[in-house]
Symmetry: C2
Subunit: 399 residues, 2 copies
């Protein structure tokens, strides 16, 4: 299989909030890189609704709509028909987690490059099986060039990458302890509550928001500490549910212990706390990671900018003695960066032509990294289910 040429011919599979608000706008904003060929959803109505969001003056014209429901399904407009198109190089998948894994597998079997939404799977075992299938069979059959990446946009955020760099340079990677706190005030009319599959009576995602949102913030923690070889080794947690519509669980208080991924280690193992609560009255949205190192402390915070009120990333380093040394503020660029990363992998190029360079480097969107995020959340959830019993966290990067 030779590398596709620009623009990469893409289909968008999914018509949910993120497909409409993040994926579609990003795809159509870069017509020199992506050519949006098709949009699929289970129902014609929802697929068409997304297609309507494509601007009338879109360089590549209107994408064709595919779907699997309705009385008059045209055999040429099913998902299978879409995946059989030779003029589609890649698919961007944004479906409910429980549905998504089968679609990922289908797309890979059709030889399409895949960018799929996080969490990579609804559980570790399911995810590991697909990752192994991909690595052992699907990926290799065309010379090892079939790309599957998981759209963990937080791992692509320049703010996160810069935080990792501060940790491994100013901090020498010598973490002593850390505290990750993630507070959200979730209203009953929250758009993600209303999806139905994430939380509540009809939820199909184990862990609900703690999995759906939690993988993002565990990805941040992991991206930072992994830059110096640390992996999560053991977890304990308590947790529970305050808001019925956030079932099965909307808060978790956990501890994580770190270990060097290669088995080398000092006698003392760093550990820290993880506090996630989606029932955080008084805290509309606040993510904070503090990493205390031998030589100072790294701060990473997401909160409204005090000046313009928009959500921003604040990253800074405080040296021994308490002096703030460096500080940067970042906007949200992770979605664009993850699409850029996906495109570069498909094209097998270090940089895209005619696109601004990104000085911060790129995030690792491999399915194994995404699976590791799920593994940590699953360990916390499992521990919370048995009153805090410690859970060993398997190293999904090598299993």
């Amino acid at each position: 299989m030779k590398a596709p040429e620009l623009p990469i011919r893409v289909a968008l599979l999914g018509a949910g909030i993120f497909a409409r608000n993040a994926h579609l706008p990003t795809l159509v904003a870069h017509p020199s890189v992506f050519k949006l060929q098709a949009i699929y959803s289970r129902s014609e109505a929802s697929a068409s609704k997304v297609a309507e969001l494509v601007p009338n003056d879109y360089l590549h014209g209107a994408p064709k709509v595919y779907f699997d429901q309705g009385e008059n399904v045209d055999g040429e407009r099913t998902l299978d028909a879409l995946l059989s198109r030779e003029d589609v190089d890649a698919v961007v998948i944004c479906l409910p987690s429980a549905t998504q894994i089968k679609v990922i597998q289908m797309a890979l079997k059709h030889g399409k490059h895949v960018l799929s939404e996080k969490p990579v799977a609804t559980g570790v075992q399911e995810g590991l099986q697909l990752v192994k299938d991909y690595e052992n069979v699907l990926k290799t059959r065309d010379g090892g060039h079939l790309i599957w990446q998981v759209a963990e946009n937080w791992r692509c955020e320049p703010a996160v990458i810069w935080a990792s760099q501060l940790f491994s340079t100013l901090g020498n990677g010598r973490v002593r302890t850390f505290a990750l706190t993630c507070y959200l005030e979730t209203k009953k009319d929250n758009q993600y509550v209303k999806t139905g599959w994430r939380t509540g009576d009809g939820a199909t995602l184990p862990g609900g928001f703690l999995m759906d949102g939690g993988v993002h913030w565990i990805a941040v923690l992991r991206a930072v500490v992994a830059s110096a070889g640390w992996r999560v080794d053991r977890a304990c947690a308590f947790g529970g549910l305050w808001l019925d519509y956030c079932a099965p669980m909307d808060f978790i208080s956990g501890i994580l212990r770190l270990r060097q991924g290669d088995g080398s280690q000092s006698e003392t193992l760093p550990s820290g706390t993880v506090n996630m609560c989606f029932a955080a009255s008084g805290k509309p949205f606040e993510i904070s990671l503090t990493v205390v190192c031998e030589s100072g402390t790294l701060y990473f915070q997401v909160k409204p900018d005090p000046i313009d009120g928009t959500r921003k990333y604040f990253v800074w380093w405080v040296a021994e003695g308490g002096e703030k040394v460096v500080e940067k503020t970042f906007g949200f660029n992770g979605i664009e960066e993850e699409f850029r990363t996906f495109a570069k992998a498909i094209l097998r190029v270090p940089e895209l032509p005619n696109v601004r360079n990104n000085e911060y480097g790129q995030g690792d969107l491999s399915p194994r990294e995404a699976l590791m995020d799920v593994t940590v959340i699953e360990a916390l959830l499992d521990s919370a289910g048995v009153d805090g019993k410690p859970m060993d966290v398997p190293n999904m990067l090598v299993l």
Copy 2:
């Protein structure tokens, strides 16, 4: 035993940092309440050094010096001789934790009221035995009026009492989760490191700084949540040692679960995180407690005042939606308040005459409360010693 009259005739037992910098100045600053009669230390030199700190114009004259070491110990100047004096009503004890418990017992047996430093004991079993001895025998023999209080000054801080009041009023006591973080950057020449008994090779205090300092901050957490009947029920932790001179352990990452003290409870039990690190490079001194409630979030922070650089308490409440509702800043008043509380208990009066009124109420200095703080720390340390295995936290208030 009838209540002593003003001024209460007091002996100070101990010549360490806190005796010199906190207890002695507080005693001599209130000559209408306390008459400092005597100062005891193991060596004559250290006892005399403290006595020299008493101002020349002290209303009650120079206190007599007592000690138990030296070749020419006068039988009339031993600790036993001091405790036999009929003109001493009360003792303030500020000795190394491992030494202190025997002195507390001696003083109580001599019928002296006791204010002893925290931690109440070096371990739960030792502490519980003394508490029971006190309650069952010592306290009752003079009509139940012999006072023993533990000088947990943080529980007396107006800032802590006001935080408790915010929690039980604006928060209705409905805690969902909490995060307690305590970071200190401990240098090798730290005055408490140099005491030798707290940490390092010669330490006699299990848990070192995590016990010595940790009881303060667990006292804050407990004072706040106990105002609505919550007690700590279960604990898990990881921990270790980064700085040899802070041995045996200088950081701990823990989780605590709460339960209603009377056994009543909702299906969901609140839980939160506790992160204490005395090897926190870049964080000279920073204590923060966040209590997320059903109706908003309580913040309690100790940090340098941005204006004058002095250490202050900042307490505020943020209502649902994120609006800051009330906010107060407090100085450190806990030492003075704990002495006031001790004096009122001895005199059996609701307020002291000729002293300013305290609008915030008083902290509970009972040995059982102090023992409960030790119990929580011990559970965290025990769990950290066995890789995070959960520890049930016994209810020391009723055992």
